[in-house]
């Protein structure tokens, strides 16, 4: 099945993207964000969950958490290209909230079949969710999960759970007698303990979550099948978050370079600053082109979705590192301080860089597709 030339990104998608941009800019401009999340600078600070729950409720009411729920399941069934546009704006605002986790859970649940209908209804009803798939080593393969399920209850610890301090539900992968299952868990259920991690990124929270004989609903007995269907969308949205954040880094650094003078010239006069910033711009455009291609594949050409999403996130992960490094370097001394906003994005991007596989990991998976199959 061929993709539409325009990625299927039409008027409705453009309106959603604009609305998101306005919402974030109006409600949490970067100075307010800094006040919210960077209040405590102590490097020895413990875990924190800093967000505006009131704004999150508004986002839920705007329907953004239901965007990816299939129409058949009572959701809006928006194409992924449209959702990607919104997530670009989320990244551009470095907005602290569990939207990515909730969307990610939606993709997985939508791939689970009928047994996940009630869980999708939860999301439709405004519950926030996140994925709990990862072991202590941060293995990007969910088959390495430390969780085990037996007799309808879940035990073990899930690590690197994103925004765990902000969600109502957890979607966990666990070994079962029959293989690997997916479980829908109430974050407030007895036996669930959320141990916040002390992390560098100030715009997200992260935790390891321990389960002690927790009652859980099995939504799929074949977790890998569902996850493999969902991963391309998950990777694509992370690439969108990174691309949006990188665009903020680019524009902010360019603005500084156009204002700040050294040797009687604006910094941007110097090719040592100008050319790498152009390379950041090119990197962003490559990622955007790749991620819309991947999103469009998720919508219309699923057999290519994995391949294209690997490309998008591989490029995005590298971009996250490069754009971050350059944003601090070209802000000079001021960029090295806590008061300069660039550190918020720097830290978010370094976090994103390894979230669902880094550049090398995605290239290695892509190579398996392109090099190890028949020509």
């Amino acid at each position: 099945m061929a993709q539409p030339n325009d990625f299927g990104f039409g008027e409705e998608a453009a309106m959603l993207k604009d609305a998101a941009r306005k919402f974030f800019a109006d409600n949490l401009p970067v100075a307010a964000l800094h006040q919210l999340v960077a209040d405590n600078h102590d490097p020895d600070r413990g875990p924190a969950v800093a967000w505006r729950e009131d704004l999150w409720r508004q986002m839920v009411e705007l329907g953004w958490t239901a965007l990816a729920i299939p129409e058949a399941a009572g959701g809006l069934g928006m194409p992924l290209v449209a959702v990607a546009g919104l997530v670009e704006e989320l990244g551009r605002a470095a907005f602290p909230c569990p939207l990515l986790g909730t969307l990610n859970a939606t993709f997985v649940l939508a791939a689970c079949g009928d047994r996940a209908a009630a869980a999708l209804d939860d999301i439709g009803a405004g519950r926030a969710a996140t994925l709990a798939l990862t072991n202590r080593d941060g293995d990007w393969n969910p088959a390495a999960t430390e969780l085990r399920a037996s007799g309808g209850t879940l035990s073990g610890t899930a690590w690197f759970v994103q925004d765990a301090g902000k969600v109502d539900r957890l979607l966990a992968a666990a070994h079962t007698e029959g293989g690997l299952g997916l479980f829908w868990v109430d974050a407030g259920a007895a036996g669930v303990r959320v141990h916040g991690d002390a992390i560098v990124d100030l715009t997200r929270d992260q935790a390891h979550v321990s389960f002690d004989n927790v009652e859980a609903v099995e939504v799929s007995a074949n977790a890998l099948a569902a996850l493999n269907t969902a991963f391309p969308a998950i990777w694509t949205l992370l690439a969108a978050d990174i691309a949006g954040a990188a665009e903020w880094q680019l524009q902010t650094t360019v603005e500084y370079a156009n204002t700040r003078k050294q040797f009687d010239r604006p910094l941007g006069f110097f090719q040592a600053v100008k050319h790498p910033l152009v390379d950041v711009m090119i990197g962003i455009d490559e990622v955007r082109s790749l991620l819309y291609n991947a999103a469009c594949a998720c919508d219309t050409e699923p057999e290519k979705a994995g391949q294209y999403a690997h490309m998008a996130l591989a490029a995005a992960s590298d971009l996250a590192g490069f754009a971050s490094s350059r944003s601090v370097q070209y802000h000079g001394g001021i960029g090295f301080t806590w008061e300069c906003f660039v550190h918020l994005y720097f830290k978010r991007q370094k976090h994103s860089q390894a979230l669902w596989g880094d550049g090398a990991w995605h290239r290695a998976r892509l190579a398996e597709i392109l090099l190890d199959t028949a020509a």
């Binding site: 061929a2 993709q3 539409p4 030339n5 325009d6 990625f7 990104f9 039409g10 008027e11 998608a13 453009a14 665009e247 680019l250 360019v254 370079a257 156009n258 010239r265 604006p266 941007g268 006069f269 110097f270 090719q271 100008k274 050319h275 910033l277 152009v278 390379d279 711009m281 090119i282 455009d285 490559e286 990622v287 955007r288 082109s289 790749l290 819309y292 291609n293 294209y308 490309m311 591989a314 490029a315 090398a360 290239r363 290695a364 892509l366 190579a367 392109l370 090099l371 190890d372 020509a375």
Partner: protein
Amino acid sequence: MSASARKDTPEQAEFRQYCRQWLAQHKPGEPPVRLPQSPLEIMTEPQLHYLQAWQKSAYEAGLIGCDYPQEVGGGGRGDCQRIANQEMIAARTPFLPNVIGLGMAAPTVFYHGQEELKRRLLPRLFSGEDIWCQGFSEPGAGSDLASVQTFAERRGDKWVINGHKVWTSLAHFAEWMILLLRTDRSHKYDGLSYFVVPIRAALGKGVTVRPLIKITGETGFNEVIFEDLEVDDSYRLDELGKGWQVAMTTLLHERSAGELQTPRAGGMKSGATHDTNSRSLIELARTTRRGEGRAADDPVLRDRIMRAVIREKAFEQTLRRSRNQALLDHPMRLPLQNKLLASELAQEVADTALAVAGAAGSLYLADDNAPAGGQWPMAYMNSFGMTIAAGTSEVQRNILGERVLGMSKSK
């Protein structure tokens, strides 16, 4: 129905249908000689004649110059060249030999030439009967195009030209040259003017064309020396001193960022037995033995090959995205990247191929054991032509930083 056909207007759909039928019947047969990899490397008369014949038949069928008005030899259609191009590429026709004429000279003459000149020059340009070349670069004016020194001095109705142009592809076959020169030494930009010059007619009478040899050993481009060449004032494009503005029209179209679409054909297998894109790179990695396995099994090479593959896909998708207004932040942000991306991609792909080839990357065209017939070292060397010519990569980054990001000029 193909994706590109989906949005045709009724008129376009009809034209597409016509092109497809015509091509099915009239696509030229196998060339009698080995063809070069690009029109800029046409070296022999038999190559040229075969390709000129093809261009002429395509023009006469209405597949070239479609969007230009009929008065200048065009088809008088709106937004149809695009369609002819798609169909010619799909039909894997040979490329068009008059590539500088079609892509750079035609729009420039069209926008800046006098009416009489357009009517006289464009039909033979479209038909390929007159091959065109471009006289911009000079030994002292590479990236800094505005510093050209070739000078035209006014003598009555005539201009007398002296100077030295370099890197003029196709000059050895060209009838006409588009020529940027200086008519006033006291102003850098406003001292430039722009002419069309009948160089073939003037060979030995004020014009000398000498081949230059590329780093690869190939010939194919030239230096052109003007000694007291007289040309008529009617060959001037636009006003005196407006040469820089006219040149911008040329460069805009060279970068495919202009209004008028350039006719494009191609896809027929050229004489080069191997392409040098990432697909061929993968093929090389699959067929090259490394240690116990294939080069394609080496994880570090795999990583590097995938980087090139991803970059190629990104380039392709950036071209696609540049056609969806809703996904653009700035009108020139993507179009101005094209040349830089294409040239650096080609360089990366070829350099990666040399790493894949390993010791065998030393083998050149005449060596029977050379991987891919020795095309990869040649492609790597030729990629520097791309990163240097038509604005070096450094100049491209200046342009992007200044025009798109609004940064201060680096000069």
